[in-house]
Structures are given as C-alpha cells and as structure tokens.
Amino acid sequence: MDEKSRYSQSREPMKPGSCDESETVRSILHGDTESFRRIVESYTPPFHGLAKRMLPDRSPENIEDALQEIFLLMFKALPRYDQERPFFTWAYTIALNYLRSRIRKGKRTAKHLASVPYDEDIGVLQGNGHQYQPEDALIASEADRILDQAIRSLKPKYREVFILRQLQDMSVTDTARTLHIPEGTVKTLLFRARQQLRRFLSDRTWISGDWES
C-alpha cells in the first residue's frame, strides 16, 4: 500500500469509544494490522495527555516512547480482549497499568531524574472557536504548569480519578470501569481531589507578575 492511500484510509478520525471501534478491532483480529493505525491515531491524543500528567519525566522523547510501548502492549493484548466489554475502558486500563509500571520502574532506576519541562504543546490551544490573545495563551500555559504541579502533589488514586474524570472528560461509569472501582468511590475520590487542589490554590503565594517573565 502506498503512502497516500495508507493515510487516505485513516483520514477520518475515529473518536475513542465510537461504534467504529468494534469493527476496527474485529478487522485487526482478522489479520488487518494496518487497521490498528486508526486505534493509534484516535487514542494518541488522550493517552498523550494521560502520560504527560502521570510520568515524572515529561520530556517529549519519554512521552513518545511511552505512547509507543502502550500501543505495542495493546496490540499484543488484543487477542485477550473480551469483545463483550467496552474497548474504550479496556484500552485505558492497559495504558494506566503500563504508565504505573513505568513510574515504578523509573523510580527504581532513575530516582533523581530531573523533570524536563514539556513544552511541545505550550501555546497550542483550542477552545470552541474562541480566539485567544497572546496574554490568554500565556495565562493558559502558566495555569497548565501550576495545575500540573498541584496534580502531582495528589496521592496516585486521587490523581488518576481527577485526570480521567476531569481532564479526559471520562464519565463516572467509564472511570469506574477503567480503574476497577465502584462509581461511588470515583465520586468520593474526585471530591477529595478537588478539595486538595483547592487547598493547593489557597496555599500558593501569589507574587504578581513573577510568572510573566
């Protein structure tokens, strides 16, 4: 298959959790490896956000490497996927398990690895057709940095629920399925995560103008 036709086949982006997904998964299981490209393309943006929030080393190389490993793991695990269950939450469980193990292994082997700021997306914002001024973009990127710092101060179980439910717009039901916890627990953890972030916000000392430099 030439380059052009390969991309034209997957030009239409597939939304994670859409009906097309089951069809795509069936094709892959029947040997159409190329169809896996659609899965990778549709899940790279949410998993990119997930990896960026969870991994201590946020360098673009590390995030990209983690994404590749997640999708390879997912491809290898596909024959074990129960097609009666939602693919979406299964995929997220694979990604989360991999990221957790990568964090653990990273702690073991590189405890003092400095966190490298991830700047690929700084300033790349989209928002319902709203046009942002440069100052808005600056505020957004600074808010992103501070929120990231706050999220990292949360306990892992709070952090995961906050990322999935709030930053990834996942429903309570899907968050519960992905994390294998009851829906009530998702709500409780989210409430506590928000309260802790709220405290982080009030404890923060604001020195006007220091972030603008």
Binding site: T33, E34, F36, R37, V40, E41, T44, P45, H48, G49, E64, D65, L67, Q68, F71, L72, L73, F75, K76, A77, T93, I94, N97, Y98, R100, S101, R102, R104, K105, G106, R108, T109, A110, E120, D121, V124, L125, Q126, G127, N128, H130, L138, I139, A140, E142, A143, I146, L147, Q166, F191, R194, Q195, R198, L201, S202, W206, S208, G209, W211, E212
Partner: protein, 218 residues
C-alpha cells in the same frame, strides 16, 4: 477592587461549586467590578483560570499536534510489522527444529524397546495440539512476605498473580499456562516494592530504564 478582594470572590465561587451549590461558570456570579479588575490583572485571571480548571468549567482543551500522532502511529506500525516478521522467521526456524525433534523422537521410540524391556517410564507432556504450554516460575526469597509476577501476559499488573511459598519456606513458585510461539518479558515484585529480574531465566533483556527484564520464549 484589589487583588485580594477579587481572589476572595473567585474562591467563594470555587467553594460554592465544590459543595454543589453552584453549577454554572463564574461569568454570572462575578460582578462588573471583578470583571473590570480581571481585564487589567493577569495574576487574578490566572487565579480564575486555575479555579475553573479545578471545577472543570474551563473551555480550554489541550491539543496534540497531528505530527506527533502521525509519528507515533508510523513507529508503532513499523515495530509491529518488524515483530511479526521476526516471529514468522522464528516459527520457520522452529518448524525445522520440530522436524529434527520428530525424527529424534521416532528414533528413540524405535530403539527403546530394543534396548530395554518392561515399563517405558514415558511421561505424558502437555497435549502438543493445544496452544497453551505449562510454565513454572520459581524464586528463592526466604525473607519475602509476598512475591508476585508481572509480565506481558498480565499487562504488568501488580497483584494479578501471586507466587505461593513452598513448605521449606524458602522458595516461591507459580504454575501458569501461556500461549505457545510467543515471547514474554517479566519480573518479580517482592513485598510490593522491590522489582527484580528472574535470576533463573535463561535470558535477560534491557528494560529501557537501566534495568533488565527476564525473557520467556514459549
């Protein structure tokens, strides 16, 4: 209005949202004086942006560059194809080895009755027709309270498979069935925090973090 007053007002809105008393965005809640202050003060705008993100009313979403998406999908597909080629080549090599084994087994079957009479002492292995093979992993860890195995087959999920302690209180072991023709990387996790490769594995491979994973080739 000064910054303290403005931030206090934003915080009140944030608290109202977190306690479920307020569900809309802050626009209807903030009066004109605050809006005027926000239009002049980037620091308070940042405070509001953070509050909105905590509550989840911020309309801003991060986006991932299409180049990154393309790079990841290209690399993943290339690696899958490489692994499939490698796997096919190994299966091909394996079929040659199998032929030699079949010939060797046939020779043993033919020659055994000639060499020894009576019970053959033949051990029945796993049905060769099945796609699963039996594996037993063992680890000598007398001090451990708990040992689990994590690997490609259980998505590296800690807690999925615990090893059982033997009667001599030294050795931990687990019996599993894994698919034939595949390669699995794995490690042991001792007491939930110490990750180690299997010292008895026939091969160790780089885990990409400066450590090693053990390798099982089925």
């Amino acid at each position: 209005m000064d910054c303290n007053e403005c931030k206090a007002c934003i915080d009140r809105w944030l608290d109202a949202c977190l306690s479920g008393e307020w569900t809309d965005g802050p626009d209807h809640h903030l009066d004109r004086r605050i809006s005027d202050h926000l239009s002049r003060c980037p620091d308070c705008k940042l405070h509001l942006e953070l509050a909105e993100r905590i509550v989840g009313t911020s309309i801003r979403k991060e986006s991932t560059s299409p180049e990154l998406v393309r790079r990841v999908s290209d690399s993943v597909l290339v690696r899958i194809q490489e692994e499939q080629r490698f796997s096919q080549a190994r299966t091909h090599r394996g079929s040659h080895v199998q032929k030699y084994l079949v010939v060797a087994a046939a020779l043993v079957m033919i020659t055994l009755p000639l060499l020894k009479k009576g019970d053959g002492g033949f051990v029945q292995g796993k049905d060769p027709g099945t796609d699963l093979a039996q594996v037993i992993l063992r680890l000598d860890a007398p001090q451990a309270e708990q040992v689990v195995v994590v690997g490609d087959w259980n998505d590296w999920e800690v807690g999925a498979q615990r090893l059982a302690k033997s009667e001599n209180d030294r050795t931990w072991s687990i019996e599993m069935e894994l698919e034939r023709g595949k390669e699995y990387r794995y490690q042991f996790v001792i007491d939930g925090e110490r990750w180690i490769a299997d010292p008895n594995a026939y091969m160790q491979v780089d885990d990409g973090f400066g450590g090693v994973n053990s390798l099982l080739e089925m």
